[in-house]
Symmetry: C2
Subunit: 95 residues, 2 copies
């Protein structure tokens, strides 16, 4: 499995609307990527204020999701909950 | 639930023994923390070469794990697989 993590670094003067993120943005991203769900984190301590983890069957599936028709709408929605520039991490999950 | 992520940043000149991490270190950490399992990541793209995600029922459980008798052995074992200084992130998982 491939884990695609999107991490939002704590940024001076930036806000993050956790409710919008949970209720609107992540569901939109899941629908666009064809995923049933994702894991959302609200940061308590450490460098990140929020994160989401999507799981895909393969790197090909990640590529297909990133190239899906609705990706522009997902990207355009970011301004509705934060001005933070997210960090992307792609990893293979180890069994 | 609380997610405790330990993230290993890509570091010039540093190595990371993924096999030792999976077979020895993470099982030792789980045993020490009283957890049945954890999720391990092998970085493919992004700022981290490896990560592990532990899930706890509460911050009190995280505190108990960090104060457990074997924590010194867990910390002392890090030198056996890497010289990278890990980054810790504690988050509340959002349903």
């Amino acid at each position: 499995m491939i884990r695609l993590s999107v991490l939002y670094p704590k940024t001076e003067g930036a806000s993050f609307d956790h409710d919008y993120y949970r209720d609107k943005h992540v569901p939109l991203a899941c629908k666009t990527f064809g995923l049933a769900s994702a894991e959302i984190d609200k940061g308590l301590d450490g460098p990140y204020v929020a994160a989401v983890h999507f799981k895909f069957d393969s790197m090909e599936a990640v590529g297909a999701a990133m190239g899906s028709a609705g990706i522009g709408d997902v990207m355009a929605d970011i301004k509705n909950y934060t001005t933070i520039q997210p960090v992307m991490q792609t990893s293979e999950t180890v069994d």
